[in-house]
Amino acid sequence: MGGLQLLLYFAVLFFVVAIVAKTIKIARMPIHLRWDLYPVPHEKGRGAYGGSYFEEIDWWTKPKNFSYLSEVKEMGKEILFIQSLFHHNRPLWLFSFPFHFGMYCLIAHGVLLLTGSIIILGGIEISWLSKNIIPAAVFHLTLISGKAGWLLSAFGAFGLLMSRLFNGKLRSSAVLSDYVNLLILLALFTVGVVSSFTVDISYSIQRAFIADFITVKSAPALPGILTAQLWILTILLIYFPFTHMTHFVGKYFTYHKIRWEDEPNVAGGKIEKAVSAALGYRINWSASHIKSGATWAEAATEETTEREK
């Protein structure tokens, strides 16, 4: 088994473990104070204009008007079409949308390649000539998602890199890693485009490689361009978790657990339990108006007049 294949096993494992660990780390952080930001889309009948249940008299006595559908619709628009950029930063959206949508196509492409590999391992051929509907569909969808994905994401990454380089506002806040992130991605997508339109037009080489990869067999040597593609992918998988490119993890929390989290604290509920626990944490802020070593509950209820004299 080649060194690159072994490294790829490590990279995939590292990527998955790192992302899961990062997600768990954020999820396990203590409950935060409410920091809502409206509109909150799950507010049924009110989400459209930014209203909340606070608009209702004695809201705590009324049933909650919660619309999962509105929230899912809003999520869909944000995730698939990056609507916030569309509305507030159109020049960047022109690149960011193809960049992200291209990557979604590539994720689908990866799943389809894996599916195709499993079909091959089952002894069924996948090619232009497949007559059976499932292998034929997998083949053609792999083709479409791959070509579209590589092209769109390469175009987007190039545009984002140019924006970062030539738009003064973007350049002024950029640091080395911002350029490195885009360069690695652009390299991968460009190589992907080349391989997609030259040595592996039908993705049969990649499908065969994945079949060997998942059955832990030594894969035959790949053409140079695909070897380069694999190297970049491997590096990216290891590098990625260290960067803000994992913002898909962060975005779940910023939207669902902060901006849109309007769950009220009710007596005996899980929020009250978490708040009670947090109020027991001991503070060691140093300013003179705070008694270091006190719990939050003690600090909040102490009579401060003497301290301030």
Binding site: K169, I290, E308
Partner: protein, 537 residues
Amino acid sequence: MKNKKTSIKDFSNKEGQLVELDNSGFLPLPPPYDKQELEPKIGSLTEDARKKYECDLDGVVAVKFPRPETEEEKRILVEKFLSGLKKLFEKENNWGFMQPLFLTMEYCAKCQTCASACPIYNETGEMDIYRPTFRSDILRRLYKTYVKKGGKFFAKVSGNDIEASWTMIARLMELCYRCTICRRCAQTCPVGVDNGLVTREIRKIFSQEMGINVEPLHKKGSVQQLKAGSSTGMIPAAFLDNIEFLEEEVEERTGMNFKWPMDKAGADILLIHNAGEYLAWPENPEAFAIILEAAGISYTLSSELVGYDSVNYGVWYDDVQFARVAIKHAQAARKLGVKKIVLGECGHAHKALTVIADRVFTGEFNIPRESSLTLLDDIIKNGRLKLDPSRNDDIITTLHDPCNVVRLMGIVQPQRNVLKAVSNNFREMTPHGVENYCCGGGSGFAITQDLNFPDWRHTVSGRAKLRQILDVFQDVIGPEQKKYVCAPCSNCKGAMRDMFAAYGLFERCNILYGGLVELVVNAMPEIEKPFLEWEWH
């Protein structure tokens, strides 16, 4: 304008005042203020003040922090700042905001989408130091260098390294008081990053670790409130005297003779106003009293320490002070055994007690809280008040949306329902609702009155709001037409009072500001004389 473009390197190292402000570089205002000579200017500090206080950011002073005299003093201050920065990422010290801050530090894509939403950045002609990401980038670099594991090495490799210096920390101290925390920026962020939160967290380092804060917020604000009962300095006995005086004034103005319910155990509602209303805009609590009396609502005021002042300035700079004041509010309500607390027309008090404190209160302190705007809407919807909107026909009205009530807690429609019931001449500003612009006085700016800070507030942080007000009335901008900016928030009114005076808006354009309930009472046919006094005060 000098130094419109500023790098983080300059911010950290360059000696002397970093940028100079000049209105001529700001976005021009609509008529009649398209003539530059009608605009107030940002005053220069006296030489004494410049020598005495840290003012090397933009020549404006909010914090009034004396310049340290020795290098040793500076070193200790930098160390303290870094120690406070670390505490922001410790659950024991910052459980309340650790997760949101961590996410903001880790995931900003630096797309600058937020910049387009920031009124301060845009109105100043895009000055870099006011860009929402500018202060966040500095804090992010400090976090990556001094807080994260392997920080210095990884920060260096990634280009995120930064050397903390007093020059930088002193500028950051002032810079965290150049953002109103309106959170328009956060609203537009595709990743959900919150630069408004960063402003507040930086203020917390200064206050909670270093004991550095803005005097009107801390010493004369939350500290005074906890000690005397109100940030205005009004002690309970003075409050009771005030109420007696207002009862008499209501009788004089309306002929209605009734006692305001005080410390009435078992009432349904504890109504808490921003105590500033009693002193600066007494017609507002008077109007509330008239409405609630006429509608037959069971309510009471409290004369308990802090129980008669809804302000909670901790919400802008200090979590401990925030929690202390919130608990006092809950204690006052608990003592009276009310079913709910209703907040008068004060935006930050709404958000503080209703939203943020929701995760401070447990057990018996968790008494339901509600907006007076919601209550008013309900009273009017249920026909509990006789109203004749034609009594307000001589006034064209627009509505200012206080950020804390609208964008930050989603109360958008009730105040509009009320306005439409009492006015036939209501028009919306653009944009409005959850996309509104701050009055310019948010996050404590309205009460920060020292040195040249008010000049900055009138010409910079309030500029977008002023533009909206002028735009919405542009077809009737002359003094012959009465125009009213309804601002159901004490801090917004404070900011407008000062800004209107600085620009001469009442004299020049006949634009007055005020609350919502005053218009409601003005539309009550049972009150013979107009309640709204059309005069500047």
